[in-house]
Assembly symmetry: C2
């Protein structure tokens, strides 16, 4: 079965967390909105049926359409060996992923503290203020939490040596923060050795390495979650 991924075609955004899992799994998938006519297909699907997605990303797997980043990964993880098989392990990895998703909202809101539908340029003073609080308070809280998780789990990934989808997501978070908050991340690198080591290990996995070098990987840009605005990097 070929999966159909639906996500905005010009950004990594939340869709990237799904792309990384599909790539690592070697799954057969099409990134629909990046194909001809794909955007209108995506918009149509959002209006259809009794169980519509609230927003992209969503995934079509046969007759099933699943939305919400963390839930799509929960679904894929069980099917492609990217999560433990026991209930406690499956729930734990999902819990890690939900915490990643919470973190993403806060990362996004550093450049959009007033309204996601408004321009960055119309909320710059507020963004500076929020980004300062983020760098000083929220960034160390989330990174410190995940560093502890890795420490507790044999200094490997969220469940130890065996790769899970939340590890792929942590790669993307560290990578994205290194782009958006380059100075803040460089300054604090020594505090989070296990997160940076996990980032390096994921980047070196053959399928991920090939993906990152391909045209399928959209570069970071100032339309996504992780944006490099020097005035927010402090």
């Amino acid at each position: 079965m070929r999966y159909e991924l639906y996500y905005w075609p010009e950004i990594q955004g939340r869709g990237e967390f799904i792309r990384l899992a599909l790539e690592e799994a070697g799954a057969d998938y099409v990134d629909v909105a990046r194909t001809k006519g794909g955007m209108s297909k995506m918009m149509r699907l959002m209006e259809e049926g009794a169980r519509p997605p609230f927003a992209p990303p969503f995934l079509r797997a046969g007759k099933l359409v699943v939305a919400q980043t963390a839930m799509i990964l929960f679904y894929l993880g069980g099917r492609h060996g990217l999560a433990p098989k026991d209930e406690a392990g499956r729930l734990w990895v999902h819990q890690c992923q939900l915490t990643v998703v919470d973190f993403l909202v806060e990362i996004h809101d550093t450049h959009h503290p007033i309204g996601s539908g408004l321009y960055y340029e119309d909320q710059k003073p507020e963004a500076r203020h929020r980004a300062e609080d983020f760098r000083e308070s929220r960034l160390p809280k989330f990174l410190g939490y995940f560093e502890d998780v890795l420490e507790h789990n044999s200094r490997g990934g969220c469940v130890g040596a065996r790769l899970c989808y939340a590890d792929l997501s942590l790669f993307q978070v560290v990578e994205g923060l290194g782009y958006a908050f380059a100075k803040a991340m460089a300054r604090t690198k020594s505090r989070y050795p296990l997160l940076h080591a996990l980032r390096d290990r994921v980047a070196a996995r053959p399928r991920i390495k090939a993906y990152l070098a391909s045209e399928r990987r959209i570069p970071f840009n100032e339309q996504g979650i992780f944006r490099h605005y020097p005035e927010l990097d402090g």
Copy 2:
């Protein structure tokens, strides 16, 4: 088995979504932080073990500790008949709940657009600006989405006539918004008849009715997610 719920003792907050499910299920549970010595027990548990919660609420069920509001409900829903049994149905209710959780972040951030650790009084102008965008853009987007979901599902709850935990959460959202954004909600009531009808049906269920009248139900206040600040209600 008696469940142990861990959450801040003086607010409804995210814990309330779990309390409502436990109450409707008639489950045996203790709201630990509201008992003597419970707060320090909660703080200790957050520092323990290889799979610590990032934040309350979390639930102890025997040896298992699960965190993240939506995941706790996913776990409880399957055990207490508050979710469909088929995979597609279970995922769909979880998807609805994850969208509720996204909505909650935006509701919270109307009074805390700059930093969750800062005082409301220190971010009042930004809160006015964000609340205005929320009332005009995000509130109708989320409520309109859920109204459509109910419309598509036989005008009942998220999965039709059979109550699920996401319906209990929608009750709490409508109730909380009616407290926080009393004017905005009164003005738009006729646009969301199915959501308001669902709120009324849930409130009339015997166990929920008894719970709401009990001392276990903490009143809304200005420490939680739903806060009534007249200057934000427009």
